[in-house]
Amino acid sequence: MRSVPVLGENKLARLLALLLAFTLVAAACGSDSEGAAEEEGSDDTTADAEDEEPEVTETTAPPAPEEDSDTGGTLIWAHEQEPPDMHLDDPANNLSITSWIRRGLLEGFYGVSGATEFYPELLAQEGEIVVNDDETVTINFVLRDGLTWSNGDPLTTADVAYTYNIWAEGCDLEDDGTIGDGTGCVYLSGDRTGIDLISDVTVTSDTEISMTFVQFFAGWKALFDEIYHPSFGADAAEVNANLPEWSNADGVLVSAGPMVFGEWDRGVSMSMVRNDSYHGSASPDARNDGVAFVEGVQINFVADTDAQINALKAGEAQIIMTQPQLAFAERLATDENFTVASTAGPVFEHWGLNLLNVHLSDPLVREALAYGIDKSEVMAGLYTPLFGDSLPAEGLGNTFWMSNQGPYENHQTEYEGKNTTEAIAKLEEAGYADSGDGIFEHADRGRLTLRVGTTGGNGLRELQQELIQAQMAESGFEIVIDNVDGGAYFSERPFAEEAIAAATTQGAEGDPTIWDITQFAWVGGPWPGGQAASYLGGNGNNPYGFNNADFDAKAPVCDATVDDAERAACYNELDQYVTTLNFGDDGLFMIPLTQKPSFYGYLSSQLSGAGVAPDANDAGPLTNVVDFQFSS
């Protein structure tokens, strides 16, 4: 009779099990370990990436290309998002990827630099503002000489007029000649802010054009950020039809940017080819003022972030730009083949307080909360390890201006650090007392328990919540995390129909108890005036319940202020309404935490030059695509 071997006595089985276990462990420790094996003596590439702070390069100016580098090659960018279509102004399409791609194809009056500032892109100089006697404002624009489309056509003011006419086509005009609320407009758009103030467009010459606004619009530099060519469509309806696939009857649409649209293999990739007629970039971040070095760009749609990093490490892509992840820097930052960098963008994370909450309606409680939050600990614990010193260590203290913008002022310096003593003092002043377990309670309002919610599944945000939750416990607050997965958070919590009804009616209607504290990001930009819409009384974008007549009156005054310095100061004053108690007891409902960094990695072993000056708004990796260059 044949004996039956037992697993424990079978050496081969044990050896196999050991080999499999080793493979699992080796894979789990990450592929960085192969760097240590290959480069003995290197103290950067170790398998213990979690124990050391990865080195992150703050890059606002891209590295200069090497003189002996080649031109040519196709830059491959692995990205998870694929545009549903290329019609950016279609309200159903608001993905960042669409605007990022179009940044390589079209240019406008002004571009946005890596420092989140406007710079003249197609313009030869800054626009000249003339305040007319009837208080209308005329802005005179002068285009650069030698501007050219990819088909060789000169880019002139006729193209600018054409662009405006497409926007205005079919609109029911007001008496003053403006397009009003957009009723009747054929061109698909969800945002005509600023365009709706234009009453006249006059072409003076091929390079000179004037636009008259019925009142000064502070964000005028953000207008006409993309000029269209007349071949985009004979009318607005045709433009709407051609933009989604970026083609007309003659083929792909012409470009004024460094790239021309190539092919789109849905679900797989999108390609662009170099525009050899490109007139050169005027960006202060670009080092190359001619045509792009690379022959083209291919965007491979790689859905998974880890798969993107693997594609980068496998050499199948040279650049990725993805949501910041804790493992991102660990897997790439310690490998000298990659450059991982970030810049502070105009998007900022914040804690927004519901002024209709029974506790938070008391300004003393809000002050106590502000004193109890230690933004620098959040920065040190979460953001500095990933992004170095590209973000201010003390966090953010302004919701209108970002830290890398000139007019920035930190209006929450009073609350810097964790001042538990002051926090508790404020609570006691408000009538709260320690319930015995460290959490305070009020005789009438009850236990000081507040829910904070955000988009669940976002690792960084969830860690941020937990950090602040621990901080607040020391100051007598019981913070309960109340997240909803993904984008559904907004419509279920702060922007739920009942919640907005309560916020806009000061609690007379709706349900003010749906949320207490919200954590998400607002998108800013070089013109901060749009932020005011989040705080205007009765506005559907204002979930906080803030309703201040002075603020509502002041916001349009700021927007109408012509002088840049005066306008900047005006916005700073507006910010104090929301981030301090300097202008009333209904303030301090916004606690900005930090700017969101734009985070990208590229294969520096293949690239001798990189041209990324990203901001999280509408720039992206192709902003300075002219600077990307492969090593020879």
């Binding site: 493979t23 592929s31 159903a92 608001n94 998974d304 798969a307 693997n310 496998a314 050499g315 607002w522």
Partner: protein, 319 residues
């Protein structure tokens, strides 16, 4: 048999109604396309109106479902709002082809290796080979698909080229420039799909063969003097195929309906990614076409399995 098949198909219609309505209602309830405008400071009412009109958000869910059903009955599967408002039928064939390019080789290899591994393991019970197959099975059953896929990417697309200087596989993406490129890009996702499913299939077939191996008729066949290979081929193998067909029908509907995780990890633009993108974008027409496809595949594969039983087991009668 034809009448049997027809009866089965007709009986599946109520199931399809329930399945499609359930998915439609669930997706419409938990997703809201207007969420995309929640934090847009400068979007005006036309933005909201456009989205409400595009997604018919002003109508109740049952009305929208009936509207969709009516369109489908006339051959109009709608437009994909998440895909530039292209006709859903156009996207369906495109993505279906891509899924077939992945699923067909995976299924074929799964059938071959599943039978081979399970049969070998059963016939060589308690041998080193049996333990090896068993260990691999446990490994595959315990291994999350996404992790195995990422592991393959790291080992085969990053480490292997660094060790050998040869890069035979793409880490992700579908490349159809040539047959060689197709093989390079499909290998890792096929291995991922196959390995995870093979783990279960080989165990199942092993159990079936073990059960049959000890049957009386097998002992009789040997006693009659049949060679071992004939015993295995004519008696053991054929009888083991009956439960194998059951497992294959389940695998086929899962593979051909799109493998969400594998397609996401390897960026393979098939049904799996299509439905994920559709759910994220609240694109109901896309979600429904994939749902209907999967539901039909389950029905058809089960029907084919039942028909196959009749060929494999003469005792099976259709009535």
């Amino acid at each position: 048999m034809f009448a049997f098949a027809l009866r089965r198909l007709l009986a599946s219609i109520p199931i399809l109604f329930v399945a499609t309505f359930g998915v439609f209602w669930a997706t419409a309830s938990v997703t809201n396309p207007l969420d995309a405008l929640a934090t847009c400071n400068t979007c005006d009412q036309t933005a909201y109106d456009r989205i409400i009109d595009l997604y018919e958000l002003d109508k109740p869910i049952p009305t929208r479902y009936l509207s969709w059903l009516g369109d489908v009955a006339t051959g109009d599967f709608g437009t994909a709002t998440s895909q530039g408002e292209r006709p859903v039928s156009e996207i369906f064939w495109e993505r279906g082809r891509n899924t077939m390019l992945l699923a067909l080789p995976a299924f074929a290899l799964l059938m071959v290796f599943g039978v081979a591994a399970g049969t070998y393991s059963a016939l060589r019970q308690y041998s080193a080979g049996d333990y090896a197959v068993t260990s691999m099975s446990y490994f595959g059953l315990a291994m999350p698909t996404f992790f195995f896929g990422l592991l393959l990417q790291v080992v085969m697309a990053i480490w292997f080229p660094r060790w050998t200087g040869w890069k035979p596989f793409w880490s992700s993406g579908m490349h159809l420039e040539s047959f060689g490129q197709y093989l390079s890009s499909v290998t890792l996702p096929v291995l991922t799909l196959m390995f995870v499913l093979l783990a279960g299939d080989s165990r199942f077939i092993r159990a079936a063969v073990l059960d049959i191996k000890s049957a009386d008729h097998i002992r009789t066949a040997r006693a009659k003097g049949l060679s071992e290979s004939k015993v295995i081929r004519r008696h053991i193998f054929r009888n083991a195929m009956i439960p194998a067909v059951t497992v294959w029908s389940l695998n086929a509907s899962a593979l051909f309906g799109g493998s969400l995780i594998t397609e996401t990890v390897f960026s393979w633009p098939g049904f799996g990614r299509l439905i994920i993108d559709g759910i994220n974008a609240a694109d109901l027409d896309v979600v429904m076409i994939v749902t209907v496809t999967i539901a039909l595949l389950v029905v058809i594969m089960n029907l084919l399995a039942d028909i196959a039983y009749g060929f494999l087991d003469p005792r099976v009668r259709y009535d």
